[in-house]
């Protein structure tokens, strides 16, 4: 009988397995549309091969850089593709990439870029002006034959004003093999900064034509690593591109592994199975620092977390009230409590490592003076004001609701009563863009390392339209607008720096925000890692990284 029982159990389990397998059986187990199915995947690393493994929290959405907006996708595409210009080291300054340089005409409506010679895509297609034109045409024109179903190119629309007639780039023309000319509808000062952005990397025209709508699973660029295979939700495997035009990679294989849980990712790093881990919780930083087998890199801040006043709503239409709040909030204490070594108090909307950042004197923390200002402004202390916070953590606010509580406590010290209101991120964005708040926490992560991408997007009157406002303070200042527009039309960086200095002074005086914090993004690595330089944009090409024995 006993045997019978176990037999039955066996039958049950086998049956269950069969049924389950049958359910999954509707799928072709290996179709040519699967990523990496065409790629060589016999054998992993051979003896003596060096593999670098990067652990991260989520998988990539797609590997066509132009058609993704998430960091997890761009992190990988940055290894496979190159951009015309590249951000340099730990700054947001732009230097040569696939192009050795770009020159503007007199009024900066035409840019002519000189391309590197002898560069080939990983599939052997030559890189030239034709290839550049092919890529830009595909992004710009909604009628382009190589723009496939489901390709949105969201970043292109966002950085270049839209598609077709709305695109700032009017046309891209081939002058000869190594020269390409961009004609703009109007000057665009951050044009070069935009060219260096990861989404605008140049892909192989041959591969785009060959793979069609499946190009995002079969990426081909000119970068230091070639795509090998993608096991969804598990790993993406790349190998060294031996024909790379720049400095060839120092490791044979680069693997991006998905490890969703923050603590597990750190444990993997400690056990030596991975060499990099990002998405580190601030609370784990001391552990990493005290472990001799690990090292901690900090990406210079490229973001700002702030408290926005809705200046259309009383009492926050009064500058004195806003200045008082700026003096009432103890930024330093908040940064110390919630960020440890990973943040610094903010004095302007621009992150400190970005060119154009002003060192202006911030409002002092002075509750007494704050109270006095409020009294002068006949502030109504009997009312309770709503302070909005997003419910889920963001890179610039690791614990938004707790930070809101700290602010509420500071305000209560000067007699201001505050009630905290939270919404999930999507709802929060919609409601704040619509101007339904009076006080709201918000933040911004920079795209292209250009001050315009912060000041114009977040504080210009052009972006204070209800329903789609980037400027959720709904602050409309004509003098500021003039400065920002002038800066947009000036290609010279020194002149622009001066204009942005004045712009930050105006913003400081009018106080549409309480700028709170610049948060740094920690990356943990094995002590064996050498040659890694953390970039404020968070997307480093890993060809310079090597592993000590």
């Amino acid at each position: 009988m006993a045997r019978r029982t176990s037999v039955w159990l066996g039958v049950l389990l086998t049956a269950a397995m069969l049924v389950l397998a049958a359910c999954g059986g509707g799928a072709p187990s290996s179709s040519s549309s699967e990523p990496g199915s065409e790629a060589v995947s016999e054998g992993g690393p051979q003896q003596g091969q060096v593999t670098l493994v990067w652990g991260r929290g989520g998988d990539s959405v797609g590997l066509d850089p132009a058609n993704v907006t998430d960091g997890e996708s761009l992190k990988v595409t940055t290894q496979i593709f190159d951009t015309l210009l590249q951000f340099q080291g730990d700054t947001t300054n732009v230097g040569p990439g696939l192009a050795t340089g770009c020159e503007p005409n007199q009024d900066a409506t035409e840019w002519t870029c000189t391309l590197r010679e002898g560069v080939k895509f990983q599939d052997g297609t030559p890189f030239n002006a034709e290839a550049v034109k092919f890529n830009f045409d595909r992004w710009m024109n909604t009628k382009n034959p190589y723009r496939y179903e489901g390709e949105e190119f969201g970043y292109y629309a966002y950085m270049f004003g839209g598609f077709d007639d709305k695109s700032v780039i009017k046309s891209v023309d081939v002058i000869d093999d190594t020269h390409v000319k961009f004609t703009l509808r109007n000057p665009l000062a951050p044009f070069l900064q935009n060219l260096a952005m990861a989404p605008f990397a140049i892909a192989s025209p041959t591969a785009i034509q060959k793979w069609g709508a499946d190009f995002f699973k079969n990426p081909v660029g000119t970068g230091p690593f070639k795509f090998v295979r993608w096991d969804k939700d598990s790993q993406i495997v790349l190998e060294r591109n031996d024909d790379y035009w720049g400095e060839p990679a120092k490791v044979d294989q680069l693997v991006f592994r998905v490890i969703p849980d923050n603590s597990e990712r750190l444990l993997e790093l400690q056990s030596g199975t991975i060499q990099f881990a990002d998405g580190i919780s601030p609370s784990d930083v001391p552990t990493i620092k005290s472990d001799p087998n690990l090292q901690l890199f900090l990406r210079p801040a490229n973001d700002v977390g702030y408290l926005a006043f809705n200046v259309e709503k009383a009492p926050f239409n009064d500058k004195k009230v806003r200045q008082a709040f700026n003096m009432a909030i103890d930024k330093k204490a908040i940064v110390d409590a919630f960020y440890g070594d990973l943040g610094e108090p903010a004095n302007t909307p621009l992150p400190p490592k970005m060119w154009g950042h002003s060192n202006l004197q911030d409002y002092p923390y002075d509750p007494e003076q704050a109270k006095q200002l409020l009294q002068e402004a006949h502030f109504d202390f009997s009312k309770t004001y709503e302070l909005w916070a997003m419910s889920n953590p963001r890179p610039y606010f690791p614990e938004p609701t707790k930070i809101a509580e700290a602010i509420a406590q500071d305000l209560s010290k000067i007699g201001v009563k505050v009630k905290i209101v939270t919404y999930d991120w999507d709802t929060y964005l919609a409601k704040t863009e619509n101007g339904e708040h009076a006080l709201a926490l918000m933040g911004w992560i920079g795209d292209n390392g250009d001050p315009d991408n912060f000041l114009y997007v977040l504080l210009d009157k052009d972006n204070a339209t209800k329903g789609s406002a980037g400027n959720i303070a709904f602050y409309r200042s004509d003098p500021l607008h003039e400065l920002l527009i002038k800066a947009q039309q000036t290609p010279d960086q020194a002149t622009r720096t001066q204009l942005y200095e004045q712009a930050q002074q105006i913003i400081h005086e009018d106080a549409p925000w309480v700028p709170l914090v610049y948060a740094e993004d920690p990356v943990a690595a094995s002590a064996k890692v050498q040659g890694y330089v953390a970039s404020p944009l968070g997307l480093e090409q890993l060809n310079k990284v090597s592993l000590a024995k």
Binding site: L13, P45, E152, Q235, E264, L267, E268
Partner: protein, 336 residues
């Protein structure tokens, strides 16, 4: 009997329809939509509108639901919004991981749980009993993620017996071509035994972590059910006839004690499937549970609906199997 099975299978249709309806509605009720999830904070209103139009999200809800039903009827679960891959293909890649995990966990839970329960019942009120039941109590009350963290920290990081997470080491995972998407089967097909053992070894910690709760429950049910049976007259008679204890326990008592145990096993399959969601996240296994979580987060409607549909289907089929197993264990139960 055949009629009964057919009737149960027919019941699948309204059940799945109801599930689809509820999932569809609740998904569309959570704020946010795929367009904003896809394009992020920096989207232009035009591009959001374009996406919504392309995905048919601008149509009224009932129309969207009918469209979806129609495609499901054609056994087409649609394409994932995020990855633009057919949901069926994606599920086919994820399910094998979840199946491997749940089946291994079930084996551990059934074998371990029944052994514990029988031992405790046979040596009632002895040290074995107390110890076994304390372990069971601990197993029920220990959250999966906490146990998983402890295991990873001590067994993987400190002792280096295991690698912390993943379905296999990177080099093996890369070396095995995908045929069935079951890594263990694929590695055998490729004749790579090293990869097979590596994959199996990687599944030890997750399956044990996932098995603790059902194992503890099975142990407790087995014990109480065995005790009840052992008090019966026919067991006393068997002992009185001088049969050795082994024969009495295994041949006579166990079969009658099995019924409630099977019920629990059947029910536990459901909780295993849900526990798999947590386990897969903690151990970074690319299974169905994690797929659903990511899909909900991205508001990937077709992916969530497809995955829930498959989950529900499995659940119903498993329940049917359990009911059928009753008739095998206890001939008195018949479904005519």
């Amino acid at each position: 009997m055949t009629q009964y099975v057919l009737r149960r299978l027919l019941l699948l249709v309204p059940t799945l329809f109801g599930i689809l309806f509820v999932v569809f509605l609740s998904l569309h009720l959570i704020p946010g939509d795929p367009a904003t999830a896809l394009l992020g904070q920096h989207a232009t209103p035009e591009s959001i509108a374009a996406i919504r139009q392309r995905l048919g999200l601008d149509k009224p809800l009932p129309v969207q639901f009918l469209y979806y039903l129609e495609s499901v009827a054609r056994l087409d679960l649609g394409d994932s919004i995020v990855t633009r891959t057919p949901v069926l293909v994606e599920l086919g890649q994820r399910l094998p991981v979840t199946i491997t995990l749940t089946v291994l966990s079930m084996i551990i839970a059934v074998v371990g749980g029944m052994a514990l329960g029988i031992a405790a019942a046979v040596r009632r009120a002895s040290i074995v009993d107390y110890l076994g039941m304390s372990v069971a109590l601990l197993g029920v009350s220990m959250p999966i993620f906490w146990l998983a963290l402890l295991m990873i920290y001590y067994l993987a990081v400190q002792l280096h017996w295991f690698e912390p997470t993943g379905i296999a080491s990177v080099q093996y995972l890369t070396a095995v071509p995908k045929v069935t998407n079951f890594f263990l089967i694929d590695s055998l097909l490729a004749g790579n035994t090293a990869a097979f053992w590596n994959g199996l070894w990687h599944m030890v910690m997750p399956s044990v972590a996932l098995a603790t709760i059902p194992m503890a429950l099975i142990a407790r049910i087995t014990r109480s059910s065995m005790l009840e049976v052992m008090g019966n007259d026919y067991v006393r008679t068997a002992y009185a006839k001088g049969l050795p204890g082994r024969i009495v326990v295994w041949r006579h008592a166990l079969k009658n004690a099995l019924l409630p145990v099977i019920t629990v096993i059947g029910l536990q399959f459901g909780s295993l499937l849900s526990g798999a969601v947590i386990t897969e996240s903690v151990f970074a296994l690319p299974g169905l549970g994690r797929y659903i979580v990511a899909a909900i987060y991205n508001r990937d409607y077709p992916a969530v609906q497809g995955a829930v549909l498959v989950f529900a289907f499995l659940f119903v089929i498993l329940n049917l199997l359990v009911d059928l197993l009753y008739t095998v264990v206890d001939p008195r139960i018949r479904y005519d």
